[in-house]
Amino acid sequence: MGDPIHQFNIVKYFTLGHIGPYELAFTNSALFMAIAVLGIGLLLIGATHNRALVPGRMQSFAEMSYEFVADTIKNTAGTEGMKFFPFVFTIFMFVLFLNLIGLVPYTFSVTSQIVITASLAFMVFFIVVIYGFWKNGLKFLKLFVPSGIPIYILPLVTFIEVLSFLSRPISHSVRLFANMLAGHITLQVFGGFVVMLGTMGIIGWAGAILPLAMTIALVSLELLVAVLQAYVFAILTCIYLNDAIHPGH
């Protein structure tokens, strides 16, 4: 049985150049991100190329994904949040496609790299902070001072609010990363059971049916998790943006 962590190794394909002491390399991670971006682009451009009043299958997909994200933003951040629709839609589609591509055997799941999810999460975090101060000025700080709290407990509550605000990018990134990592490790371990039992001859083959069935069930679960985590990442982005648009509880 292979090392279950091996599938997350970054492989360098070729070097693009150097920035100071850092090497800029084209890796398998970059390759699958490029595939995802190309896939999303071609799919959405192709789907909306021949627009019809009665949408076909591809156009329905594009329209449904648009409406799905638009409804999510309107429900969580209000109509003012639609300003951020391109950003949230990009993040949702990017994470969704990376998650789904990662489920295909022998591919690389980019979202199981903490550096990718952390970059996305910190991007959201800084957009919230910068936009919040730019739009509301110092009133943005009201976010940390909930109204209707007795004065003697207010410092403690404010401290907790600040702490929970600062830990958002960590939980935002680790949630996606750890979900994908744990799912892929579980699949690898159960797939390894099938191979181990398969080498034991006829009795092993009969026994291997159980982990094989488990692997198939896990793949469908991972399919659910891939879509759900992309949705969770997008909805949390909306909820954090809502704090920047409407600070104060």
């Binding site: 962590i5 999510t72 429900n75 969580t76 939980s171 680790v174 949630r175 750890a178 979900n179 990592l181 744990a182 490790i185 759900l228 949705y231 969770v232 909805i235 949390l236 909820i239």
Partner: protein, 75 residues
């Protein structure tokens, strides 16, 4: 006890934390289902809140899993 054995035991202990998150996620979905059966017309509007609560609860379980993975593979 040598360090390698302590790491494995520590990883096992860290995974206990996921049980708490499991209870939490079960409570969230159970309560949502109970409320949705009482008032099905209001259920769709609360789906976003359901997913938000699920995500926040699940994160805590994921943290303990992360500690276990760090103990096993990174440290």
């Amino acid at each position: 006890m040598d360090a390698a054995a302590a790491k494995l035991i520590g990883a096992g202990i860290a995974c206990i934390g996921m049980g708490g998150a499991g209870i939490g996620v079960g409570v969230i979905f159970g309560q949502y289902l109970a409320a949705a059966l009482r008032n099905p017309s209001a259920a769709q509007g609360q789906f976003g809140n359901l997913i938000f609560g699920f995500a926040v609860t699940e994160a805590l379980g994921i943290f303990s899993l992360l500690i276990a993975l760090l103990l096993l593979f990174a440290l």
